[in-house]
């Protein structure tokens, strides 16, 4: 391969799902209580995309990773402190709302317009990565719409593996229905890969990498352009977060067999 990849990863924050998440009706629509104070994590799907991109860039000379992140600037900064030590990237920040109450097409529009303006980005070498269900309330449409706006026709949704071949083509393992995979081979960039879980574990924290990243992250945050995204014209009638269901009963002297039988029955239901 004569030229490396230009990898653009779209990824932003989600509230840490382990915290107490309480939907409220805010002045500008639905929100989470104390949202700005809740710990935020990188959207897990986008996390897989970022780690796969960093791995690919490290293995492919002359490659570079940009992370395009749309979210409240203060929360993005908090997020960067947890992901900057894990992967080498250059941040491109957009200051705007992120969460479950924005419309995918507005988000896609803002991301696509931002990507078009990245200095030095060669769109003929572009691998556009993101999470398969990110920023879409699980509809899985955002990356597709970003790709369309960038006029990329090769799109792969729910990707678990992406392997450049010796001949310059790219082999892609993609989830399809019924727990099966589809193997595709495309001529090369540009393409869209919306990642499912990928194959890589979360990288360890590298303090030096974190410091190096921060030298470009802080200026990027300061330059973050406001992004007008939301859900104009959409009315949320009811909002609730997924709830853990828990029914505790105190049963004394139950045998192991009885407990096992009850668990099996519960699973069957």
């Amino acid at each position: 391969m004569s030229q490396g990849f230009h990898l653009v990863v779209c990824g932003s924050i989600v509230p840490d799902p382990l915290q107490t998440l309480e939907p409220i009706q805010g002045a500008e629509g639905p929100a989470l209580k104390n949202e700005m104070m809740l710990p935020a994590v990188l959207d897990p799907w986008a996390g897989h995309a970022l780690y796969e991109a960093a791995h690919l860039a490290a293995a492919t000379p002359d490659s570079k990773v940009w992370l395009v992140s749309l979210g409240p600037r203060a929360k993005l900064q908090q997020l960067m402190m947890t992901i900057a030590p894990k992967a080498a990237f250059e941040l491109v920040a957009l200051d705007g709302p992120a969460g479950g109450f924005t419309e995918a097409w507005e988000t896609a529009e803002a991301l696509a317009e931002c990507i078009k303006t990245i200095p030095g980005l060669d769109r003929s070498r572009l691998l556009l990565f993101g999470g398969c269900a990110s920023a879409s309330r699980d509809a899985g449409v955002t990356m597709q719409m970003v790709g369309e706006r960038l006029e990329i026709s090769d799109q792969f949704l729910a990707v678990d593996e992406l392997t450049p071949q010796e001949n310059g083509t790219i082999r892609i393992l993609e989830r399809i229905e019924a727990g099966r995979y589809q193997v595709s081979e495309c001529a090369g960039p540009p393409l869209v890969a919306a990642w499912a879980t990928g194959r890589l574990p979360e990288p360890p924290n590298n303090a030096q990498l974190g410091m190096q990243n921060m030298r470009s992250i802080m200026p990027a945050l300061q330059k973050a352009q406001p992004a007008r995204v939301g859900a104009e014209g959409v009315e949320f009638l009811e909002v609730e977060v997924p709830k853990q269901r828990r029914n505790t009963r105190v049963v004394e002297d139950a045998s192991v067999d009885e407990m096992a039988r009850e668990i099996v029955e519960w699973i069957r239901k």
Binding site: M37, P39, Q77, P201, A207, T248
Partner: protein, 618 residues
Amino acid sequence: MENPAHVERQVLPVDIACVGFGPATGGFLSTLSRALADGDPAFESRAVPGMPLQVVCYERADDISFGVSGVATRAHGIRESFPDLDPAQIPMAHPVGHEKLVYLLDPLGTSRRSATLRGLDRTLRALRRILPLHDEALELPWIPGFMRKENGLLLSLGQFNAWVGAQLMGSGQVQVWPGMPVSEPLLEEGGVAGVRLVDQGLDAAGKPESGYMPGMDIRAALTVIGDGPVGAVGQRLDEHFGLPEGNLQRDWAVGMKMVVDLPEACVLPAGTVLHTIGYPEPEIFGFLYVYPNNTASLGIFLPSWLHSPVRASYRYLQHWMQHPYVWQHLDGGTMRSWGAKTLQESGRRGEPHLVGDGYARIGEGSGSTNVLTGSGVDEAWTTGTLLAEGVLELLAQKRPFTRENLEAAYVQRRRQSWVEKEGRVAEHARDGFQLGFVRGLLGMGLAGLTRGRLHLGGRPRRAREHVPTLAEYYRGRIPAAEIESIRETCASSGTPLHEALMERAGWPPVRYDGKLLVSHQDALLLGGKVQAPPGYANHVIFLDPSLCEGCQQRLCVGVCSGQAITPGDGCGVPQFDREKCVHCGACLWSCTQAREGDPERGNIAFRAGAGGLHSAEN
């Protein structure tokens, strides 16, 4: 695979490296970052020429908001840093309102009470017509001034840390890195030259695996240690340099708490502060602070000087919650969060060497907690601000961070501060508890009312010097042979011994309601959200197996806040399960087996580790 002891490590030079992000480091970085943002004078980095001062902070937990404490504080130091502080800007914060100090009688007759205390209880019950006694409790008509928190604040430490951290990171002057445990200080030439981050990609035993990444050496002109009472760096410094002549670190407590959605019918207004004494054991203090939106922080403190080998904190917490006086406010409530931490209760008497060449210590691990006023967060915060003032002075004068310079710039400031003056008053305030609960209370009162001139009691003792064996403790109540039988039954069934013994001694079983009264493991999962990222070695180590095999008390098992330490196979060395550890560190100071060559330390090493509690509301 390389041996971690000899591996080559990457080196990262910075100017100031901080260890641990809590209130002390929050105070330090807040003061420092404001001056750096002011830019007059501008401080250039010596570590990275051409760059501004490089200030980094490494926090062990996965997020800066995962600290544990329900806080009632006078907030002197915090308000000095934020004169316009609006509690409404910090979730769960509220001005202190009505305060009550309550003596809880024993409604079950199972509490371990002395004859004096039983007599007191009988007298109180006899006088119930003329005393404000209700729900098996006496609301004391007067709270000593030294205990009052009037004009103060109620805080969730996790939310306060998050609020402080957001401002710090927004300033762009300092970097706070969560999820980065620090394993040890870099000890060089009689001083500290920085810190080493923990190795990653290890198995539980500490052997490198495929993703092995040696912890980086962070070299710094100044290392600021604010890693709390059981932090690995502070411990190592104490081992290496010892404590100043006459100082002791023998008083500890484990604080176990919950954040609770109070029932709708609860009438306690936000700002209410309840402090309790007397139950479930006389020495166990309790607290309940009411936050806005009908939530509350509540919990107990189980002290090291409890003259009992039964240390089942969680079980005690449940019995405390079910005391009629407390339960009237909680019945129908729901747990939101749960956690536990160690408190260093030696206070000023446990002060380590505050400075040395290249390092300074702040916060709870530096002996700032005031055990008379029951306050630690504001004191810790203030030590951080005092250090920052000293550091800025040295930076402006272009003087190095030597012991002498830090003594003049930081220690002298601290000696002249209210933290020191009040710490001196409190220094011997709790010594009376070595002699019993009633004398302990009298001693506290005496020390408080005489500004520390008078107190009761003697030197604090090590755990092994005063904690009886289970057979000794239950003599006359449970035969020794039955204790052994219960021990064997619990070992074979994997159930906690201390709870079984409590039930045998008369404590009733806890009827779980699935909301507030839940099993210990449910509290870990639902409340603490405990996490243990892969790739890190076990951080609790039993150093000499033969000492564990001969141990009768096994306090480490009973006191473990997360049930992460279990008896192990065949009554040998206890087993440690990292996935349940909440990093409270209670095992460290509860061990009754003296480490060879160091009688002040037990047979457990409590090292730096990742993960633990994962709730932002504690």
